[in-house]
């Protein structure tokens, strides 16, 4: 239900428009957690629909969901686990990039950790595929690098 009648900041909502033209509402106190949004509000005023060119209707609701929970002070480990449970790797990446764009620190850190967890103990090829990155090492360069970078306790070496 819309709560736009009240003029106090705590129940004021901000309109956000995604890159693909959809509009979502978010509470002002939640918007404050996303520094990019807050900066836009400071520049454009809080009565205007804030345009977010690099965020889309697929991910914004999820982000809003996170911060809705955050402003009630209720983000638990269980909530976070549930939040990412059904997300595939691409979806997490998109959210991560959006959190970065929005300068939404808490979500950004949480998603960094989640991506890090997804990469744990995976092979180099897996990581390359995950990030869509091309290998620019020759096989010799790569094996030399591996030797130098044996980060286990046994072989800690310092580079120059």
């Amino acid at each position: 239900m819309a709560q736009e009648a009240s003029s106090s900041t705590s129940s004021k909502t901000i309109s956000l428009k995604t890159g693909d033209g959809e509009i979502f509402e978010i509470e002002a106190s939640a918007a404050k957690q996303m520094k990019t949004v807050q900066r836009l509000i400071d520049d454009l005023g809080d009565d205007i629909t804030i345009p977010l060119h690099n965020v889309f209707s697929k991910e914004l609701p999820k982000i809003i969901e996170y911060y809705k929970k955050d402003i009630t002070g209720e983000i638990t480990k269980d909530f976070e686990a549930e939040f990412v449970k059904d997300l595939n790797d691409d979806e997490v990446k998109v959210l991560f990039l959006a959190a970065n764009y929005l300068d939404a620190n808490k979500l950004f850190e949480f998603l960094s950790q989640n991506i890090a967890d997804r990469l744990e103990s995976k092979s180099v090829e897996y990581v390359r595929k995950y990030f869509g990155v091309e290998n620019d090492f020759t096989p010799e360069e790569e094996s030399k690098l591996r030797e130098e970078r044996a980060w286990s306790f046994r072989g800690i070496k310092e580079d120059e």
Partner: protein, 235 residues
């Protein structure tokens, strides 16, 4: 499908370094070798001060990065301090009685580097004394300093590369044993001397080219330790 639009933004490649670093510092040390092999730009991130400072403040948030440590062994930049903390944790992680201390890791790094120098490493007494001075300089008691230094020696000895240089080094260490009388806590501990001989007679047994060499070393061991284990005699 939002693929067309999202393709622009699934562009982790274009992210600035400090953002990508946020993921790396959360994977944990064991994955960093893999990550640096992904592409050259990422490998180069591991040489930046920026990365290591981020790693320090995320993984060891209680250390004070601007604090300088007293004593003869310099702590170095963020990377070295991280390595020292990581090693301290590894050596002492399972012992709740001894507080994890960055200086222990620095001792390890110092000793390992010095022993693996290709030119003649300094006399072991000097290296040992430096470590003891470091620990005492940081406020440890003589007993604790002696114990820590022993642990560092043992850890370094267990992690030396298995090559000819190490073999020669071990022989030297065995013979340097008690050439010079030093006061406590500068004396080397018995368990360290033991480990030197143990490694020589087990891991490096095949390196003895001449039987004379081997028996000389055995005599040296017998003069210190009675009885010596049968494993050292090759049974």
């Amino acid at each position: 499908m939002e693929r067309k639009n999202s393709k622009e933004i699934i562009d982790i490649e274009k992210l600035p370094d400090h953002v990508v670093i946020e993921i790396f510092i959360r994977t944990g040390v064991s994955d960093w070798t893999q990550i640096s092999c992904v592409k050259k730009q990422w490998a180069s991130l591991f040489r930046t001060e920026c990365f290591w400072q981020a790693a320090l403040s995320h993984i060891y948030p209680f250390t004070n990065p601007s604090q300088t440590l007293p004593g003869p062994i310099p702590p170095g930049l963020a990377k070295r301090r991280f390595m020292a903390l990581h090693i301290s944790e590894q050596i002492f992680g399972c012992d709740p009685d001894i507080q994890v201390d960055e200086i222990v890791g620095h001792g390890y790094l110092f000793l390992k580097e010095q022993l693996q120098l290709s030119i003649m490493p300094p006399h072991s007494g000097i290296l040992h004394g430096t470590m003891i001075d470091q620990f005492i300089g940081c406020g440890k008691s003589r007993d604790v300093a002696h114990e820590l230094a022993s642990r560092v020696w043992l850890a370094v000895l267990d992690n030396l590369e298995e090559n000819h240089h190490t073999f020669c080094l071990l022989k030297r260490l065995a013979q340097e044993g008690d050439q010079v009388f030093l006061p406590y806590p500068y004396t080397r501990s018995i368990k360290v001397q033991w480990r030197v001989f143990e490694k020589l007679f087990t891991d490096f047994r095949d390196c003895f080219n001449h039987e004379v060499d081997y028996y000389d070393m055995l005599a040296c061991a017998k003069s210190r330790f009675q009885p010596i284990p049968s494993a050292w005699l090759g049974y």
